[in-house]
Amino acid sequence: MVRTYALLAWTWTRAAMAYRASFALMVVLGVCVTATDVAVILVIFSHTTALAGFTRDEVLFLYGAAGLPFALCDLLVSNVDRVSQHIRAGTLDTMLVRPVGTWIQLAADRFAPTRAGRVLQAAAVLGYALAVLDLDAGRLWMVPVMLATGTVIFAAIWTLGGAAQFLLTDAPEVINSFTYGGGQLTQYPLSVYGRDLVRGVTYVLPLAFVNWQPALYVLDRDDPFGTPGFVRFLGPVAAAVLALLAGLAWRQGIRHYRSTGS
């Protein structure tokens, strides 16, 4: 699976590199656009010392902790949300007759290495926050767990979005609001949002487990919404359940695929 992905991704990378100038421009642009996120956080903290009870460096920690898995998924799997385009173009039929998984082929299709800039930017912010925050070393094990959990959650949401397009061929915009919306939402401490929204992203679409809940543990904070302590450790469970659901939905999507009439 990894081999297949790497092969396809490398083929597209080579194709993208053929236009070196535009390639470099895209990388720079990508970094600039995402750098504005950080600029916004810095501007907020030039007027105040705390946002919903969190210091600047803690907010940057939350930002990096969600931004890194999001950017990784954006780079590696976000193309699975182009299902409806591939259905209409007929390229999905082609993928289905090849001896490798459709999901992998879709994820790697038109692999855009220029999105790697965003990964580096988020990693840098997270690295900075980890360096400057005075964290309890005994709690740091949660950081890799959190990143893995977040990656699985975002990948599963993208996959669910792709699977939905087998049924609703015209749904990509709705799907985008879940994936990119989720990416935006998790940039800030969830305590800046209303209680109902936070309930939704904890128990329905488990975005709270991307960074919020595990980060509360790493930062040794109580949840302003009062969830009990064990919830901090439920991330991997939530990610596994969501991944399972996404996998099932994907299989159903393929089974109910109707191709096109010509």
Partner: protein, 256 residues
């Protein structure tokens, strides 16, 4: 090699059900060369898509090379070659050669075998002149030859082709026909193709399946097909007669 048992595929279209294929039963033995005829909308492409696992049958059973295509799709892919005349299975933006290389990697074809096979196909299909051209710049005839080569690089046991001669000039058609005959004769590859070109049937197929309104309307040799006419007739006349026989009935549509 190919077996369908009362296979059917229905589509829900805005509140009604279209039975694209129904109760389709036939058997194709290894090494056969079979042509599938039928008027527009008869269900030929739908049948082909069920055979290669793209569409899951909504009723009945399909087996290809001993596998259930929709359940064992990726395993079947290694043993079957598929060509859609209407659209390419190659990578649109990549040069033909890179497409072949990707096929080699995805199908895990041994490098030596691949090189030998590619030489053979390049010669037989005369691909030498445009191996470096991106697929999107190829003419229809060139692209079709490229597609055929890509479908055969992994040396499949079965080759299914949906309208492989569509839009080709007489010379290109002749080239593709003799190539298909060669593949069938030399490698023993089972071939099933759909076509609207009766020349394909006359020159290639020992056996004809005729699908009409999603059902099997005829299954037999070309000789048997000709014998369905009351008197002497050309193949065009015979097929026209069979196609228009049930014309009074509109396509099968029923409310949900």
């Amino acid at each position: 090699m190919i077996e369908t048992e009362r296979a059917g595929r229905a589509f829900k279209v805005r509140g009604s059900v279209v039975h694209a294929v129904r109760d389709l039963s036939f058997r194709i033995e290894p090494g056969e060369f079979v042509g599938c005829l039928g008027p527009n909308g008869a269900g030929k492409s739908t049948t082909i898509k069920m055979l290669c696992g793209i569409l899951t049958p909504t009723s009945g059973r399909v087996r290809v090379a001993g596998l259930d295509p929709s359940r064992a799709r990726t395993a079947l892919a290694r043993r079957i070659g598929v060509v859609f005349g209407q659209r390419t299975t190659l990578w649109w933006d990549l040069p033909l050669r890179d497409s072949f290389e990707l096929v080699r990697l995805l199908y895990k074809v041994d490098r030596k075998l691949f090189a030998a096979r590619l030489d053979e196909l390049t010669e037989a299909l005369d691909l030498g002149g445009f191996a470096r051209t991106p697929v999107r710049q190829l003419s229809l005839g060139q692209r079709m030859r490229g597609d055929l080569a890509a479908a055969l690089l992994h040396d499949p046991e079965v080759l299914v082709l949906d309208e492989p001669t569509i839009g080709l000039d007489v010379v290109s058609k002749a080239g593709i026909r003799s190539f298909l005959l060669r593949v069938n004769a030399e490698r023993g590859t089972t071939v099933l193709l759909t076509t609207h070109d009766l020349g394909d049937v006359e020159r290639l197929c020992r056996r004809v399946l005729l699908i009409d309104h999603g059902r099997l309307a005829f299954d037999g040799s070309v000789g048997d097909l000709m014998a369905t006419a009351p008197g002497p007739a050309t193949i065009e006349e015979v097929v026209t007669r069979l196609y228009t026989r049930g014309r009074a009935a509109p396509p099968p549509v029923e409310p949900v």
